[in-house]
Amino acid sequence: MEKPYRRRDLLGIRDLSAAEIVGILDTAENFREINSREIKKVPTLRGKTVINLFFENSTRTRTSFEIAAKRLSADSVNISVSTSSLTKGETLIDTALNLDAMAPDCIVVRHGSAGVPHQLAKVSQAAIVNAGDGANEHPTQALLDAMTIREHKGKIKGLEVAIIGDIIHSRVARSNIHLLTKLGANVRVAGPGTLVPRDFEYLIDCANPQSAIRNPQLKVCLNIEEAITGADVVMILRIQRERQDAAYFPTLGEYSIHYGLTNDRLNLAKEDAIVLHPGPMNRGIEIASEVADSSRSLILDQVKYGVSVRMAVLYLATGGSMVNG
């Protein structure tokens, strides 16, 4: 719906142009310095209200959004809804309309079902920011990953990025694929055949129905060694234990042996390759501790930049203007 006060939704990276992505990253760079001050607060969003509406458990993302809002002087409210709206007898749309009636400027929403932010955006006056929806997108995660990569590699264009693990269920993978390919990187994905469908190669072409040929920037690799070989960035996805129960792979032990990132496997990447993980890590399963604790692992940088990215996102969603260049 048409939003008042120049509010803008952030539903996914898919909807953004390369220029918009760069604009958000540059805005985040501008906010970054605030986080290293002694007094970490500016009045930019004074008088604005941000609701963190979390239907799914999250410590890191919710805290990151909350800190981002507070450092910009917005009033933030956290709502955790553990039960589904159905069991409360209230529909999803009711929940949204009730919150919207209290006139927040922005609703940050996380939900286990894909598309919930899109459904809320249709009925809400507040700007909707997607903090992760099912297996669809997690745009702020991809933005903070991009900020980390830019910081350490100086660029994104032309980089080779390997994304390893449970691709089919991963919103982090989807958002990163859209972002990285829009900014000119090449992405290789790999993992167990049950979790990495071949058709995933067409993801960015589906996003753009006009393109007739498969975009060579995205490739599904037959094994993780192929994906990692020569990579500048290795991004490891969290493996959910419940996937084992659903018979996507036999055991976590077997997963760690055949698909886990060890030093030996990482040595296939470029010498200066960096390792990212969206957290929380399963040490010894998808990532060996020796890798997680090495200097090539930038997991804490990702968390750090997450605050700046979310400050930029909240600022832009509530009517702020992008920094250019």
Binding site: S85, T91, L92, S113, H118, G134, A135, E137
Partner: protein, 427 residues
């Protein structure tokens, strides 16, 4: 009571095209066709059908009317009101009511509710197994005696080939077609849309075409072995269509239907996460839709049926994952078929009438229906082929509003519906 439907363009696959003919209806039956030059009979009422198409009454062989059990979604009366407004003179409500229509008492109740509404004819479809739980056969003979015209598993596929084989062997004794909603749940469980590139893009769990195709192939093999009549409900995939086409060539006793949304929308419609694009089988990708259209054209598909599945707005206002499957379709069916099939040159008007009337009557053994020949039941659908109109969800006669076709523009509409010689709808 004598009714003359004058100067219309009679379309009946059983008879050659006839422009300017008048149809004389007496005592609920078609009594004669009157040529333009012939002497005009004395009548009580004349309906001027100049410029209109006069067709044997449309039969929607696949609807869900939610009565008994979920009357907040639809009643037989509200469903029949939507049916006649869409040009349908007969409807076949599926057995997944609460309780399930698995016995003669419920079958009779549904027919009686239809008679009370006095709009469309109601020909219920019984369950294959008791409570549709896939274990014990339901009393098919008794349901047929009470008025059921077929047996079906709709919505709750029989996972067990042994039970399906018994059902076909037994249904054959009563000359009942066995209708199957083909979906192997072990492949589709948890899925909410067609599995393919778009489901990967949207992060929604897919239902593979394979789930439908494996069940269709199984049913065809059982039909071949038993000689029973299998009718595949809402066929939607290329592989399923190819299997049916091969089976027909082999002489297997198989018929099939398609739902209008499966020849008009692709899985791209799910973008935006509108829960009114969620149904089973799901909206398929372009190659499947093209195969469906080809099969409508070449005769592989026997009937068009809406799979009208009302759900209350509150139930659809949920997460895409959690919203129930199904859309309403009685009022948009003919508009979609005229606009997307007839006006795009894919099928002729005669073929349209075959799909909507003659074939469903044949499949369900509805003697005296599906034709306008003298002596047949005066169930008549009158279409204005040129009428341009817009479907508005909030104006639906159904109790539910779950259509993905809100605000869609159509060319061609039913303007009058006659059941047993009596007008039940006039626009």
């Amino acid at each position: 009571m004598k009714l003359l439907i004058s100067n219309g363009h009679l379309v009946d696959p059983a008879a050659p095209e006839n422009t300017g003919m008048s149809l004389l209806v007496e005592n609920g039956r078609v009594s004669a066709w009157i040529r333009p030059g012939d002497s005009q009979p004395e009548v009580d009422e004349t309906f001027d059908a100049s410029g209109l198409l006069v067709a044997p009454g449309f039969i929607d062989m696949h609807v869900h009317f939610r009565e008994p059990g979920q009357e907040h979604k639809e009643t037989i009366s509200s469903g029949c009101a939507a049916a006649v407004a869409g040009g349908f003179t007969s409807v076949c409500p599926m057995s997944n009511t609460l309780p399930v229509n698995d016995n003669a008492a419920i079958t009779r109740y549904m027919i009686e509710q239809g008679e009370r509404a006095a709009l469309a004819n109601v020909f219920p479809i019984g369950a294959i197994t008791k409570s549709s739980d896939g274990s014990e056969l339901a009393e098919m003979g008794e349901m047929k005696a009470a008025g059921a015209v077929a047996v079906s598993v709709d919505g709750r596929p029989v996972p067990n080939a042994g039970i399906m084989r018994r059902a076909m062997q037994y249904a054959k004794d009563f000359d009942l077609p066995v209708i199957d909603h083909c979906e192997d749940k072990s492949l589709s469980a948890g899925g909410v849309m067609h599995e393919g590139r778009i489901s990967l893009l949207l992060g929604l769990k897919g239902m593979p075409a394979l789930a439908e195709e494996i069940d269709v192939v199984r049913d065809l093999l059982i039909a071949k072995e038993t000689g029973a009549h299998i009718h595949i409900a809402h066929v939607s995939t290329k592989g399923a269509i190819e299997a049916v086409r091969r089976a027909k060539n082999e002489g297997i006793n198989v018929t099939c239907e398609v739902a209008p949304h499966h020849f008009t929308l692709t899985d791209r419609s799910v973008e935006g996460y509108d829960t009114n694009t969620k149904m089973a089988p799901p909206l398929r990708s372009k190659q499947h839709v093209e195969a469906v259209i080809e099969a409508i054209k070449d005769g592989t598909i026997d009937a068009i049926a809406s799979d009208h599945a009302p759900h209350h707005a509150d139930e659809k206002a949920l997460e895409y994952d959690k919203a129930p499957f199904g859309i309403i379709g009685l009022e948009t069916s003919i508009g979609l078929a005229m606009t997307e099939l007839v006006y795009k040159g894919i099928i002729s008007l005669e073929r349209l009438i075959e799909l909507y009337s003659a074939n469903p009557a044949k499949i369900l053994r509805l003697g005296g229906r599906g034709t306008l020949k003298a002596g047949s039941v005066a169930d008549i659908t009158i279409l204005d082929p040129d009428r341009e109109w817009t479907y508005i969800n909030s104006e639906s006669r159904s109790k539910s509003r779950n259509s993905p076709f809100d605000s869609r523009e159509f060319r061609g509409a039913a303007v009058a519906t006659i059941v047993g010689g009596r007008f039940v709808f006039k626009r």
